[in-house]
Symmetry: C2
Subunit: 566 residues, 2 copies
């Protein structure tokens, strides 16, 4: 490609809202432009990279035996109603109606579509297992899109769906996809950590995120030093404080303490250890339910864990009038004592077995101490895990947890019978001639986010440093403007020769740019090899060759350069 | 690919509503399944074909210097308002709103998006011309979708947009795209006729359809035997009846003739030649305008020509109460005489220069004869072409027109300044430093329709006969089940050898199918080469080779077969 003819110029200014290198460099380098928030144009340069990533993914998916196909972009809403996802997805779902009044969903994933397709066929155990995948545009009506390609409202996703006769068979595919994904990302230059995670609105019982460790990421996860455990903070388990069940019960007291709110302050004020305090927080769900969530004062509440237990889509702090109604006290003194019956109480298992603990008195300005289960408050039928894991806590196996941040580039999900049991006709005929639901899994990679992640991992202060496999071109051939026509003709000849060898070349043939401008553009765009033809190099019958990720500049004879990149 | 593992079985039953071979065979062969009307799943076999077509198109577009990129699927409605297409497109446009209340359009084409992208850059005459293209999902909210892939509501389109400093420069690209398109279709085995056509809602002054002649098509066009003229009936011009301007004007008469309606009957009843009669038809537009369209009685009205002149989106026959109001007579007696002032009269140029003609009297049961312009009815400032061209009429150059039907597989459009003049900032800086609007063109190919067209052109009563370039696989290797394990091992070996040579093979390794079933499936799926391994062929150390489009079956030695397809 001749750079003089390429659409999409480099630009010095960064977008106003750009914080991340991937956003800044992809914009400045002429890879992307924003259409609306979270919706991007990919310019020719950017689309080449996107396409390379697609090729890497396709190769490994095909090798793993998955079969590429495509579903329509518009999903009939009737299918999403069958799986009950129209309500569980909440506001992230966009709907559209055609002129005949038929309603469709702009899908974020396509489980229902795949089940709908598969059930059009009479499937028997002999046809199972199979894995289908597609590269298709997905929509997420995110409240906030982030700058650049890291959190988009519209993007190409490689989504795959597997169908199995048994759980055992599924597990083999899950493992195969886990390996396939690791290979895909490694091929793209990304080392991923496989992290247990929350399944969001996909459903199923367990899933894993593929995370590239990076401060630019939004995934917070915890690992142990020996990598034996890695889990997103929304699901991470840890060893919790165990109360001394043998402690003697003391007499309950209500202590006046106006305005004493934080657990540390309160413990000091009450002269008790912090682990005797309780954090009780009141929430409201989208259905208007009021939830009281209580954890040992040394912990915080993880709202995703809580949501999953409650089974709601939205969770917000209860409005003060609600707090006052259910606690019959001002805000700040809520506890698990004598709450109005409409309140659903969820207690973390860090409360189990405690004696003589503190909690809000549900009485303005008062705190209760020496509270005991059974005597002062009924012991719940079940304790739950709603506490937020943090660095330094011990893993279930007793190893210290380390907190990390990363970018989620892929996911694999066990779906089990989540969809096949809800959707009519989602079954196969087994060996005995009986109808059975198939067992499913799904597997996704966001291509644009992967592209941004590569830039986050491969750049310096001057611009991008693409790994070869994802680079838009292999060679950036730069002709330094000269009065001598030999320079132009040598560059043109070399360009044609490299192309003839099947090497992808971006040829900077621009007449109105200085050497400095061309070098700066080359550093910004980040093609792996820079080859410079100038009067000076031609005096030695050579070109100057520099790798983008090295400082070394070497002279290579013209007659040899053609073989350097084959 | 092993057929035993391939998702998407062949099936004997055709879809209930299938009339067209492309619909029937693509369904039966396991290439496609319908999701909702006009929205299709492409199964692995079908998606391979779609991908081959994409590859052919991409190769030629790249060769022509066009640059691939992508726009978001959701187009901000504000852009469509700038170009005023929200109103002109009418009901074919689907709209969707995000949670923030921002409105988007599900685009049918992407002119506004491309202009919006290009205007984000400071473009000068040095950057022009360039052509950008994409393969992206397009939406058309068609009232009726046709069975199969011929008329879809959602499909992948290759749409390209070119930007130029001058009309002359645009014309070169238009010609280049015309040639590129012809090459693309020829490579895919389709001979196309380039037909002048109506620009629909795209805008611009002229455009051409690429049509494959076929009874399955919906494009009606007219050509001359020597191919010097080809035009869609919506734009086709022809030599019209010329009245004798020297004829002496006779006295106007109103003749009572209740219920005499058709022009032939009327001419007989009035004892005048049919060419003296006038057809006057009253229409209403979507804005409530009433239009009287009049042609010489020997012709019919083409509503698309009429719509373009009136500048409306919808045109429907006027309701009887409207007819009665503006003609002050019952339905059936409308003419161009004394119509109510609100009526806009559009006269075809077949009325020009006529003397002593008939027209409805706008008086119940009456017909006026010997009507003359000037004396009885004002001569209009301008006559138009609103008559429908038909077989046998003479072209403007005097050659008889032949009526044909075909499938529109591609289009090229002159857009001129249609978009760049309407959208703010759609300009470049010319040599003199002045801002000028760029001159544009656009170019589209529907991939699914092209796929269906190939099937329409390449099939027999048993199934599809893919041209090699579009075939999902090159070789269909069939193993005939046998007690002897040598058959399986010979087939497996051959399969691996062919794959190793880079030949795409569908290997029918199914154990539960008879030879007859396998042959029937091979004929249905239509892979170019069928290679059969059986006990019988192995006795001669051979395989049986048959081309799908030939009856000849030849024995080829195993040691030679591996080279046959390289």
């Amino acid at each position: 490609m001749r750079q003089s003819q390429m659409f999409g110029k480099t630009i010095r200014e960064a977008p106003k809202d750009s914080i991340l290198p991937s956003h800044k460099f992809l914009y400045q380098g002429g890879f992307i432009r924003e259409s609306a928030a979270g919706r991007y144009y990919f310019l020719p340069l950017g689309w080449r990279v996107h396409d390379k990533i697609r090729t890497v993914i396709k190769k490994e998916m095909d090798r793993a035996g998955a079969q590429e196909m495509i579903t329509p972009v518009l999903h009939p809403i009737t299918l999403w109603k069958e799986s009950n996802r129209t309500s569980s997805v909440g506001f992230e779902l966009m709907k559209v109606e055609d002129r005949n009044g038929t309603e469709f969903v702009l899908g974020g994933t396509a489980e229902e579509m795949l089940v709908d397709l598969v059930r059009k066929f009479s499937i028997s155990y002999k046809d199972l297992p199979f894995t289908l995948y597609q590269f298709s545009v997905k929509f997420r009506d995110e409240l906030r899109a982030r700058g650049g390609l890291l959190r988009l409202r519209e993007f190409v996703m490689k989504d795959a769906y597997s169908f199995h006769a048994t759980e055992e068979d599924f597990k083999k595919e899950y493992e195969k996809m886990r390996e396939t994904y690791s290979t895909i990302f490694r091929n793209l230059g990304l080392e991923t950590i496989v992290v247990e995670s929350d399944n969001g609105y996909i459903g199923g019982e367990y899933c894993h995120e593929f995370v590239v460790e990076s401060d630019a990421g939004e995934s917070r996860f915890l690992t142990t030093d020996d990598d034996s455990y890695a889990a997103h903070e929304d699901v991470a388990k840890f060893q919790k404080y165990q109360g001394d069940a043998d402690e003697e019960e003391m007499a309950r007291k209500d202590v006046e303490g106006k305005g004493v709110i934080g657990v540390a302050e309160l413990a000091k004020f009450l002269n008790i250890p912090v682990e005797k305090t309780t954090k009780t927080i009141l929430f409201e769900t989208e259905k208007g339910e009021v939830i009281a969530a209580a954890v040992n004062g040394i912990y915080d509440i993880n709202e995703v864990k809580l949501k999953n237990i409650v089974g709601c889509v939205e969770l917000s702090l209860a409005r003060s009038e609600v707090v006052e109604k259910v606690t019959r006290a001002k805000v700040g003194y809520a506890g698990i004592l004598n709450l109005s019956k409409e309140v659903k109480i969820i207690m973390d298992d860090s409360l189990r077995g405690r004696k003589n603990f503190e909690c809000g008195a549900n009485r303005t300005d008062y705190h209760s101490i020496n509270i005991n289960f059974g005597r002062d408050v009924p012991e719940p039928e079940r304790f739950y895990d709603i506490a937020l894991a943090k660095e330094g806590y011990l893993s279930v196996e007793g190893k210290p947890l380390v907190a990390k941040k990363g970018i989620e580039v892929g996911n694999i999900f066990q779906l089990g019978f989540h969809y096949s049991s809800k959707m009519k006709g989602a079954h196969f005929i087994d060996r005995n001639g009986d109808q059975k639901h198939y067992y499913m899994g799904c597997y996704g990679i966001g291509l644009a986010r992967t592209m941004a992640t590569i830039v986050e991992m491969y750049h310096d202060e001057k611009g991008i440093m693409w790994p070869g496999i994802a680079a838009p071109f292999r060679v950036h051939l730069i002709e330094i403007k000269s009065q001598k026509s030999e320079v132009r003709s040598a560059a043109e000849t070399l360009y044609e020769e490299l192309l003839a060898k099947g090497i992808e070349v971006l040829y900077d043939d621009r007449d109105d740019k200085t050497a400095g401008e061309k070098f700066a553009d080359a550093d910004l765009i980040g093609i792996p090899w820079r080859v410079v033809v100038s009067e000076k190099t031609l005096e030695q019958n050579s070109v100057e060759v520099k790798a983008r990720n090295s400082r070394e500049v070497v002279l290579v004879l013209l007659e040899e350069i053609q073989n350097k990149f084959s």
